[in-house]
């Protein structure tokens, strides 16, 4: 059984039995009223259609010169669409542009709207091997739209095999890495390598010895970030040395971690260090545990532990942020000998102010090589020096060119300075 409502909603069913359109309530009126009503409706519809089409045709002019080009230095996953602004895109009228895209001759779909005065859109969601066409429509205020501007031919993104913006950076990396490898090989063949003493690393044994003598535990904090940060890895390399010495001296070492992956790595590291020290029974997994990922929750726990347990030595080696001073000052307050190290330049002053020894930036990364005393690892430290020489040459060259450009703003020096700044240095890490 069908309801009357469903018949009216369905246009096929809203017909009288003879097949003509059925207009509710009108057909029952006198003929002249019905005829007049129909004429009025027709007139209204014609006026509406005409006024709408004339508004969209005359109110907003379309963008012109629609061009699609490949996005350079990518894996065929981007295209750049450019156009000339609609003449109606004036400061007093905000004209938006809507971009439509067709993939491999399929359906057109709207992919973005860009604000006024924009003549470029970067489509970063392309796939290699597919062909794309674009349409751009200018949208005026009150919903007026321009005619379409459309690309004539489909465009396929092109695969680039090398990111040319990074070639200079690649050359610098190759030089530094090559120097490191050469120095490592030289060290393997017996070349003598001098590495300056690093006070903070020399003091590791002293700190562990002090904790042993005092019969108090030690605290090791490997930063608050995960294993994907190289500072955390560098911190773990020092942890293995501290754990080995602690096992030899039979001192207790507490390692609360802020990341569970770091906890598992620290447990492995300490277990192996205890085995290497010949004291496997010294390894206590209960002392290496996960606290929380939350930065200040972790700080609250560690500071509380320090205040209660009063460790004799504290090691803060890894990646630190605002918590660096909270941890170091609490350790200072309980009278612990403190050794810290981080590559966060903004946190170094806090560690310097509150700790006894601080590994400044590169010293943290040199720690494992320094502590191992293996020639091939020490060779990598020497390789770094070649990088420093290169950095000095670039610095001096850059300063000379910049100074020269001040006195001669035009000419070869200015061009060389521009190339040096924009191409060699600026885009290197882009």
């Amino acid at each position: 059984m069908r309801s009357p409502k469903s018949e009216i909603r369905n246009p096929k069913k809203a017909r009288n039995p003879k097949g003509k359109m059925w207009i509710p309530h009108v057909s029952n009126l006198p003929v002249w009223i019905s005829f007049g009503f129909r004429i009025s409706c027709f007139g209204f519809l014609c006026w509406t259609a005409f006024s709408t089409s004339s508004a969209s045709a005359t109110e907003v002019a379309p963008p012109t010169n629609l061009v699609v080009k490949d996005r350079p230095n990518d894996a065929a996953n981007g295209l750049i669409v450019t156009w000339s602004l609609s003449p109606d895109d004036q400061p007093e009228r905000a004209i938006q542009c809507e971009i439509f895209r067709q993939v491999d001759g399929g359906e057109w779909s709207s992919i973005a709207k860009v604000s006024a005065k924009n003549e470029t859109f970067e489509d970063t969601n392309c796939e290699p091997g597919k062909k794309y066409r674009y349409r751009v429509v200018a949208l005026g205020p009150e919903g007026a739209t321009s005619p379409l501007a459309e690309t004539a031919e489909p465009f396929q993104p092109i695969m680039q095999w090398v990111d040319t913006r990074r070639l200079w950076f690649g050359a610098i990396v190759a030089f530094v890495c090559g120097s490191v490898i050469v120095c490592t090989e030289l060290a393997k063949r017996g070349a003598s390598i001098y590495v300056r003493p690093i006070a903070a690393l020399t003091a590791l044994d002293e700190a562990v010895g002090r904790a042993t003598e005092m019969g108090r535990p030690m605290l090791f904090v490997p930063g608050i970030m995960d294993l994907d940060q190289i500072e955390t890895v560098a911190g773990l390399t020092v942890l293995s040395k501290v754990a080995k010495t602690a096992a030899e001296y039979d001192a207790a070492l507490e390692v609360p971690t802020s990341r569970s992956l770091v906890m598992t790595a620290a447990q492995e590291s300490c277990e192996a260090a205890c085995l290497e020290a010949g004291r496997p029974e010294s390894f206590n997994p209960d002392r290496i545990y996960y606290v929380t990922d939350e930065q200040f929750g972790y700080v609250a726990y560690v500071c509380g532990w320090m205040t209660r347990e009063k460790p004799a030595a504290c090691f803060f080696l890894g990646k630190f942020f605002a918590e660096s001073l909270l941890l170091a000052e609490t350790g200072n307050g309980v009278g612990a000998i403190q050794i810290a190290g981080t590559a966060e330049a903004s946190q170094l002053p806090f560690f310097v102010a509150a700790c006894d020894y601080t590994l400044l930036g590169e010293e943290l990364f040199a720690a494992s090589a320094y502590l191992s005393r293996e020639p091939q690892q020490l060779g990598t430290l020497k390789g770094q020096d070649a990088g420093k020489v290169l950095a000095t040459v670039l610095l001096l060259g850059g300063c000379l060119l910049a100074t020269w450009t001040v006195f001669q703003p035009q000419g070869v020096a200015a061009e060389a300075y521009h190339y040096f700044r924009e191409v060699i240095l600026n885009k290197g890490g882009a």
Binding site: M263, Y289, F296, G297, G361
Partner: protein
């Protein structure tokens, strides 16, 4: 073997990252490596949660020193997990009003949102605000004029501190415009832009080279101490 396989994984992942930086088609490999890291981190989070419960349960069971804190930690952990998992107090999503669990678990007004807004957030703010007192105590110790270097540090800090306040501007307001570099704000600007920046950049250069060297040691397998030992 226990240390060789992780070292090989680290070496291969590191090499892929370097290649992907210079060769765009290899960026997919980089994304795959990053996805694997995320998967591992998620699994490790389960291990971390389990470790947290076991660690504090042991403390409570043996009534070790500070076991009361462990009890509070356990209760807070379990309550938060329960409220989050059951979407306690979360209204249904507008799209699916007939499904009570369709709302976002962090929806405003929900249980987890309430816990974060009214318990976590004030506690975090309290911990962070402690920093002001620690800065004062560290500065007091660092600026004691024990030798020439400490004197220089003290004078520099005095200038920068004054230059950053309104008092510094008022105190040197009589200095003529042509000598504005000698006002406290002027001197502060020079110290921050020239001396501090130069020092920081030197440290940053060393850090960059240090990262390159340690990365190379790990990729080449020369340094395995992060696995506990350099020996197989």
């Amino acid at each position: 073997m226990k240390r060789t396989i992780p070292a090989v994984i680290a070496g291969v992942s590191g090499t892929v990252m370097i290649i992907a930086f210079f060769i765009p088609p290899a960026q997919k490999w980089q994304q795959t490596a990053e996805i694997w890291f995320t998967i591992l981190a998620a699994i490790a989070f389960l291990i971390g949660g389990t470790n947290l419960c076991l660690h504090h349960l042991k403390k409570v069971a043996h009534q070790q020193a500070g076991w009361g804190f462990s009890a509070v930690t356990l209760v807070a952990f379990l309550v938060t997990v329960f409220v989050g998992m059951t979407k306690w107090g979360v209204p249904a999503a507008e799209k699916f009003p007939d499904y009570a669990w369709s709302g976002n678990y962090l929806e405003e007004g929900g249980g987890l949102w309430w816990l974060y807004e009214y318990i976590m957030s004030p506690i975090i703010a309290t911990m962070f605000s402690l920093l002001a007192f620690y800065v004062a105590s560290a500065a007091f110790r660092a600026f004691r004029a024990k030798n020439v270097e400490a004197m220089l540090l003290l004078v520099t800090a005095f200038i920068v501190l004054l230059g950053r306040t309104y008092a510094g501007t008022v105190l040197t307001s009589w200095v003529p415009e042509s000598m504005s570099a000698l006002t406290f704000p002027g001197m502060t600007g020079v110290i921050m832009a020239v001396f501090t920046t130069a020092g920081q950049r030197a440290i940053m250069l060393g850090i960059a080279l240090g990262i390159a060297a340690i990365s190379l040691r790990i990729i080449l397998g020369l340094d395995r101490s992060y696995l506990g030992s350099d020996k197989d």
